[in-house]
Amino acid sequence: MNGLTLDIFLLAMMTAAAVWTVMRGSLLRAVIALALTSIALTAVMFRLKAPIAAVFELSVCAGLITVVFMSTIALTKPLTHKETLDYTKTRMKRFWLLPVIMALLGSALLYFTIPMDFNLAAPLETAKNFRNILWEERQFDLIGQILVILAGIFGVVVLFKERSKDEPQD
């Protein structure tokens, strides 16, 4: 039974972290809240017996993406403290609606899903090991990943390059 309560706890943790990223006033704290959500996600993934994916998620999402965000925030002029303060005040006016919607939706879903029954496909007995799936069946995706990475490199090169002086000032 405690497994289920653990799931509930972790899922609640993840949703709370998500809401917190949205509601947080200052940008930096919002990024940190995002990292928190990804950590909660990793925990849930462990529970769902997807360890490799969880570790990958933790290292890439929590790590790399937070770094990317931090650097963009650094490169862009951060709001002064005073601006963040009055900014948070105005935020509340715009963002109070979110928790309300979520509460409503949650209760509605709770109410409707109880009677539903699910017919899912029969589970596959022979659990293939992860490695050969990735390499045999998903080779086409691997090629895709190479392509994406190449595209990403070009993207970074093109976009992040500091505009050199001779470039026309558009």
């Binding site: 289920l4 940008l27 996600l41 997807a50 890439v60 609606l97 995706d141």
Partner: protein
């Protein structure tokens, strides 16, 4: 469909839409460009969760993990490019306000 997995699925059906709503809400209402990217990031997390759940429910965890890894790789690149674009937009109008990228009308 064992009783226990059904129970778990019902749990996810409650929580997943919440995360989706949070993500979409953040993307639509926020005025700060970086915060929209955060919203996107939340949505991606929700989808990764769905894939993991699918893998778990059908016992094909290995397949779902492979998918998740490819997904994460692609998402990183997308976010990196998006961040680059946001950076350049900032260089132009010196502010991250979403209102100044509404110029193309008609």
């Amino acid at each position: 469909m064992t009783q226990e997995t059904a129970q778990l699925l019902r749990l996810y059906i409650v929580f997943l839409p919440l995360i989706f709503v949070a993500g979409f809400y953040c993307v639509i209402t926020t005025r700060n460009l970086i915060r929209t990217l955060l919203g996107l990031e939340i949505l991606t997390k929700a989808v990764t969760l769905m894939l993991a759940l699918a893998g778990y429910l059908t016992g094909r965890t290995a397949m779902s993990q492979a998918l998740i890894i490819t997904l994460i790789v692609i998402e990183v690149v997308v976010i990196a490019v998006a961040a680059g674009v946001v950076l350049n937009i900032f260089r132009h109008n010196n502010s991250l306000d979403a209102r100044n990228i509404r110029s193309l009308k008609g």
